[in-house]
């Protein structure tokens, strides 16, 4: 499957499916609390399964910064 990371810069990865969203994030080393995962605009929960043909977006929710 194609994984499009927007964290926030755009980056693409290929992963073998099917996978549960929780496992997908683990493989990408992404903390689930900081992102939303979507497939064709549909928001997914951690127990949803994504297949080999899917394009999945991982969108970062973390913003701001004060140095």
């Amino acid at each position: 499957m194609k994984v499009v990371l927007r964290t926030p810069d755009r980056e693409e990865r290929e992963l073998k499916g099917p996978l549960r969203v929780a496992e997908l994030l683990k493989r990408l080393n992404v903390v689930p609390e900081g992102v939303i995962v979507a497939r064709d605009g549909e928001l997914l929960t951690l127990d949803d399964e994504v297949g080999d043909q899917d394009t999945v977006e991982v969108i970062s929710a973390v913003s701001g910064g004060r140095r």
Binding site: E42, L43, I59, A61, V62, S63, G64, G65, R66, R67
Partner: protein, 328 residues
Amino acid sequence: MKCRVCGRKAAVEVRRQGQAFCPEHYLEWFEHQVERAIRRHRMLRKSDRVLVAVSGGKDSIALWEVLRRLGYATTGLHLQLGIGGYSQRALEATRRYAGERGLPLIVVDLREAYRLSIPELAELTRRRTCSVCGLTKRYVINRVAVEEGFDAVATGHNLDDEASVLLGNVLHWQTDALVRQGPVLPAKEKLAKRVKPLYLLTEREILAYTLLRRLPYQHEECPFSVGAKSLLYKEALNRIEAQSPGTKQAFLEQYLKRIEPVLQAGLPAGEVALKACERCGYPTTGEVCAFCKTWDQAYRWARKKRILPGESVFAPEPALRFAPERPN
């Protein structure tokens, strides 16, 4: 995972509450949370004129949308900071949101109002960008609110912002900053009331709301935020939250409920007295406020470096009127 209201397939999980919702019931839940926070802390009255500080990012756009849906009379305020294409795109997202809904928007371009951008201000004063940016934003937002007679300023600060600031202040035991943290800062002479209606919602929950409502927002981060300490604190808190849901909320809420009152009571008699700044008349603890001092210093260097003409003198009164734009 099923929606706890209707049993349909869930789209968003709120793990800190052990709940999940379908899109329709998530939006309902989210807006109800904001309404509840406003009521619980008496943030706003229905008759209030509210100035919403809008950067164009997801938090401030989501805040504006919820306040609009709850029926508040809102006006947006967007500051053009002059950070290249990033600032341009922030303005575009903000204008698009306001224009699509016919909402009044005040845009203050710092270069038009005060003749320098945030990057120039930071370079000329040799101070950190985020520090002079925060100082300038707070001052201008308050000035617009006071001069235009708004009842309150609403900002998009969320649970992650508040918990990470709290963590930073605790790690360095910054007691003076600790006692100023809270969802409502009451109005004082020439200081507008400030409220944070999203303070108990996480960034993830706000992003889910923004995506489900299909709101235009700027996803890109400020180029100056790279390596920010607050991002490190947010990441650390999110790692704890993943293992122990509800920790961020308990950390902030229990602090506000149990610890802040004790700290307040232990302060030496009363607060530090505020007086009017000699330059601009706005509240400060010293003779001249930090905003006037910083911009004065920037002007001195700008004259020396011939960025501004030799006769340029900093004036705290902006060189423009704070009028809302006509919606696009």
